[in-house]
């Protein structure tokens, strides 16, 4: 499992990219999807995920819709057009970062 410290800066990028690839998702679904994609090596903590989601929503990157399932209410997140353009930017930024880190740490990154 990767350390949460390393994940901190990438949380938003992960959330945005996952939402781009999967469209509409709810909070728990996002954690499951990320777990799946990372072979259980990345586990998003709820304590970080929800504030991040709300922040992105407040910034207008995400929109939400709620659905009632029996007694439970499910809140779905999806990208706004604005959020969609942000995804590419964030992913590119992260790739650049990895490259730079490769140079700094003197290792070859696949």
């Amino acid at each position: 499992m990767h350390s949460p410290e390393l994940l901190k800066g990438t949380l938003q990028t992960i959330v945005l990219k996952v939402l781009k690839d999967n469209g509409r998702m709810y909070g728990y679904e996002i954690t499951q999807r990320v777990k799946e994609l990372s072979d259980e090596r990345i586990v998003l903590t709820e304590g970080a995920l929800y504030p991040a989601l709300h922040k992105l929503e407040a910034e207008g990157m995400l929109r939400t819709e709620t659905e009632a399932i029996g007694k439970r209410v499910r809140k779905y997140y999806s990208l706004t057009p604005q959020g969609r353009s942000l995804v590419k930017e964030r992913v590119n930024e992260f790739v650049e970062f990895i490259k730079t880190m490769g140079n700094v740490l003197q290792v070859n990154i696949g």
């Binding site: 304590g47 929800y50 504030p51 407040a58 209410v73």
Partner: protein
């Protein structure tokens, strides 16, 4: 595996119990937990184990709360939503506390409305004459003359001054003179109308004052004699729907005047409102090249960059080089020198007064209209501000007093992650909202009250709804007032420590009341101050009305413009006397109220040398007729009144006491003779011939100007040709009937002439119009200040009573009487009011003395007045409190004690 309904219900309840309650995150976390539990259940776990595994992942209760806190904090960073939230909560709170909100809104809106009116008023006062294009370059001559023991601070300058200055001073671009000669009867053909705002003016009037001319040529309009310029208002009155230019108006039945210009009516905020300007060229008096007669109000337009002080220096030189030689000729002949003139305490000085200072700083003899002292502008502003502060204090006091009720709210909010800044903003929002509501109400109140205030202050103020700045200022003021009222409570409330508040340790409310008590003291100190001020003004007014004046101002009817009767003057007087309604009558313009005729000349005791300045006495010489003293009810204290039985009375004179003293008579007054220079009939002094009168009586001093001034020497003698208004003394209580009788005679003998009259006592009161106005305005202000302060007190008492319900219940059970409980509840505030009184008294005493220093004759302000104000404030406050106290004290203790 799906969760059952019970399991979901359990999760919801459990999460709620763990403190997950915030809107927007609660549902989401429930769903998340449920989903995760479902996942865990797939591993064949029991529900409760699955649930706890999930919770552990969250970090149990602390982790859950932390998530919630972080989400809330992210949410709070959204300014729009946050503002909306503040707004909703504020509205909810205000509605829940509708009684206190009402008190606050009522107080604030009254305070704001007053402030609003006062700001309009002050703005208007400061805007006088600013509409003239060259306003800052226009100056008026002020003359400071001391002669023969008399001191004149006036606006009258010699006729030659303006012309000399315009010709010889390079600084002066133009100089003009005005000469007022009272009102004129004006007619187009038959019907005369009395016009008050008529003045003789020099031709450069339109050059100095940028008054827009609608018709005619401003540069040539006032050049020719017998030409006049009239205001649009006047043109519309005499020539409705016609072209006025080129037409003729007849003044005083004998002057045919051609209209050469029509100008825009002067705005209300001008220090004069002339409707008719008569060309100065037609006035002989204006052509005299004399320095010793001062009759002309003189204005100068200086060049740009000209230094007014240099002009003043040049004026001083003019006095030395031109005026003094002339005065020397009249006064002392060979013996005269400037040094001697000054050594005798005499003075002749002309200075400049800026146009823009006139309305707020000038109050001299010869003002065209009464001005408004800037000190009162400041005074009113201060009062308005005080009332607003009193209203803001209500808000502060009620908020902090009720803090106990809100302490729990603050505690919970803080626990939930609110920062102090959020709470401060929340509370400020409440006060701003309140001030917004109050502001809107205030504008409504001001709109309704403005006509009343205009009436009282004789101004034409209006709310500038059409100015965009107005709305900006209103908005700004709303914010300022909201913050002013809310800043203290919001910091006070938001400082609570959640732990102690939630444990119930902080028993706030009425106990932590030092600041609150001081604020109540401040409120009542200001109110008491205003009440004392009002009482003092009224007492002085009362004193003036009832002072022994040396004459009897009541029951005297004065018929103005008697000259319109022409040769029927005496016939009219006799006819009216024959009607039996009148007791006595006299025909003269010299009356003991200001604004009537005055005439000042040097006299000396016969036998003394008129060449020696010390022998000359400057006195008012009033020409009257036989019944003057009797008609006006003056008292002869030595000698006798004029009488038809003594033919020699044509050369007799009666002095007032001041004149006796000024001439230096000691015991041989009666029979003494006094003398003055003769004149050639056109005002030119004849040094060769003297006029001599013999003293036959002394009349008690009587006040003939405002009580602000001393009684100066007056000599009264018979006129060979009585002129001026006719005064009748009447007995009847039915004044309407008296007027009707006189008017009928007037119509008979002076057809087509306007009938104008006044009562002497009314004219007397109008000398104190400013004081009356001041009394009324301050009276209204102090009334409102007390109302606002009492509103606050009312709510505070209601709150205390509510807080102490249980205590009162127990006291009653143990046998306390209603009255003792009422006393208990009122005692606290009673003390505060006593302190307020002690603080207010010295300030009030100082203020009253400052105001009264202008009066030579003033009333005694004793301790009684102060005590009265203090007791009045106390009674009003006590009545306010007793309503609440009594209600609390008479409530049934069973009700207040049965539940805990």
């Amino acid at each position: 595996m799906k969760l059952t309904e019970e399991h979901i219900a359990y999760i919801i309840k459990d999460l709620n119990y763990r403190g997950i309650v915030a809107d927007g995150i609660q549902d989401e976390l429930i769903d998340h937990v449920c989903s995760a539990v479902e996942e865990e259940l797939k591993k064949e776990k029991r529900f409760i184990d699955a649930y706890h595994t999930v919770l552990k992942r969250f970090g149990h209760t602390a982790g859950l709360r932390d998530t919630q806190k972080q989400v809330i904090q992210t949410e709070n960073k959204k300014p729009k939503d946050m503002l909306k939230n503040y707004f909703t909560v504020a509205l909810r709170n205000l509605r829940k506390q509708s009684f206190y909100s009402f008190i606050n809104v009522a107080g604030l809106s009254i305070g704001l409305a007053i402030c609003f009116i006062i700001v309009l008023f002050v703005r208007n006062e400061l805007s006088y004459d600013t509409h003239f294009a060259n306003g800052e370059r226009i100056y008026r001559i002020k003359s400071d003359l001391k002669f023969g023991g008399n001191h004149y601070n006036m606006l009258y300058a010699p006729p030659v001054l303006a012309g000399t200055a315009a010709e010889e001073f390079p600084e002066v671009e133009a100089a003009i003179r005005f000469r007022t000669r009272g009102s004129y009867l004006v007619k187009r053909d038959i019907e005369n109308i009395k016009e008050d705002h008529v003045v003789w003016a020099d031709k450069d009037f339109f050059q100095v004052f940028s008054v827009p001319v609608i018709a005619g040529n401003p540069t040539t309009a006032l050049v020719e004699p017998n030409s006049i310029a009239i205001s649009k208002r006047t043109a519309d009155k005499f020539f409705p729907g016609e072209e006025a230019l080129g037409q003729t108006l007849i003044l005083d039945n004998n002057m045919n005047m051609k209209i050469t210009a029509v100008y825009e009516t002067l705005p209300a905020n001008t220090h004069f409102h002339f409707d008719i300007l008569i060309a100065m060229a037609g006035l002989d008096e204006a052509k005299r090249l004399v320095w010793y007669s001062n009759n002309f109000q003189t204005y100068m337009l200086l060049h740009k960059d000209a230094d007014p002080r240099q002009v003043e220096q040049k004026l001083t030189r003019l006095v030395i080089e031109r005026a003094m030689p002339q005065i020397g000729e009249i006064l002392g002949g060979e013996d005269f020198s400037i040094e001697k003139f000054e050594a005798a305490g005499n003075k002749m000085e002309y200075t400049l007064q800026p146009l823009l200072d006139i309305h707020t700083k000038s109050s001299l003899q010869g003002e065209f209209e009464p001005n408004f002292d800037i000190a009162y502008v400041y005074l009113f502003s201060a009062i308005a501000l005080f009332i607003l502060i009193i209203a803001c204090i209500n808000f502060m006091n009620l908020s902090t007093a009720r803090s106990a009720n809100r302490a729990k709210e603050v505690g919970i909010r803080k626990v939930m992650g609110s920062f102090r800044s959020h709470l401060v903003r929340q509370f400020l929002m409440e006060s701003i909202l309140l001030s917004l509501v109050s502001m809107m109400l205030a504008i409504g109140i001001a709109y309704l009250l403005l006509p009343l205030f205009n009436n009282l202050s004789s101004r034409q103020l209006f709310i500038p709804f059409s100015e965009p700045n107005f709305y900006l200022i209103i908005l700004g003021a709303t914010l300022v007032v909201g913050v002013l009222a809310g800043v203290y409570p919001s910091f006070f409330l938001s400082a609570f420590k959640p732990a102690s508040v939630l444990k119930g340790n902080v028993a706030l409310g009425m106990k932590s009341g030092f600041i609150r008590s001081s604020l109540v003291v401040f409120q009542f100190a200001v109110s008491i101050l205003l009440v004392i001020g009002t009482l003092a003004v009224y007492r002085q007014l009362n004193y003036i009305q009832n002072k022994k004046l040396g004459f009897n101002k009541d029951q005297v009817l004065v018929i103005e413009d008697a000259y319109a009767l022409g040769n029927n003057r005496m016939a009219f007087r006799d006819e009216v006397m024959r009607s039996g309604k009148m007791e006595l009558s006299t025909m003269t313009g010299y009356l003991p109220v200001s604004g009537t005729w005055r005439n000042d000349n040097p006299w000396w005791v016969e036998g003394r040398d008129p060449g020696v300045q010390e022998n000359m006495v400057s006195v008012q010489n009033w020409q009257v007729d036989y019944d003057y003293i009797k008609t006006l009810g003056m008292k002869v204290i030595e000698g006798r009144d004029f009488s038809l039985d003594f033919p020699s009375d044509s050369t007799a004179v009666i002095l007032n006491e001041a004149a006796v003293r000024a001439f230096g008579f000691t015991n041989e007054v009666l029979g003494s003779r006094i003398a003055t220079f003769g004149n050639f009939g056109d005002g030119e002094i004849d040094r060769e011939h003297f006029e001599v009168l013999q003293v036959i009586g002394v009349v008690e001093n009587f006040h003939f100007e405002s009580l602000k001034q001393n009684v100066t020497p007056v000599i009264i003698y018979l006129s060979d040709q009585p002129r001026g208004p006719i005064s009748f003394r009447f007995q009847s209580k039915n004044t309407r009937e008296v007027i009707e009788t006189v008017e009928a005679k007037w119509k008979e003998l002076a057809p087509g002439q306007p009938f104008n009259y006044y009562f002497l006592d009314e004219r007397f009161s109008s000398m104190y119009a400013n004081e009356t106005r001041l009394g009324k305005i301050i009276g209204i202000f102090s009334g409102l200040a007390i109302v606002v302060a009492c509103l606050g007190l009312f709510a505070l008492t209601a709150f205390t009573a509510e807080q102490r319900t249980k205590e009162i219940g127990i006291r009653k059970v143990l046998g306390a009487s209603v009255s003792s409980i009422v006393l208990l509840l009122s005692k606290e505030f009673g003390k505060l009011i006593a302190i307020a009184f002690i603080l207010a008294s010295p300030v009030a005493w100082y203020g009253i003395n400052w105001w009264l220093k202008d009066y030579t004759y003033k009333t005694e302000i004793g301790i009684g007045l102060f005590l009265f104000a203090g007791v009045a404030a106390f009674v009003v406050a006590w009545l306010t409190m007793s309503f609440q106290s009594f209600r609390a004290a008479s409530s049934d203790p069973v009700k207040s004690l049965r539940s805990e």
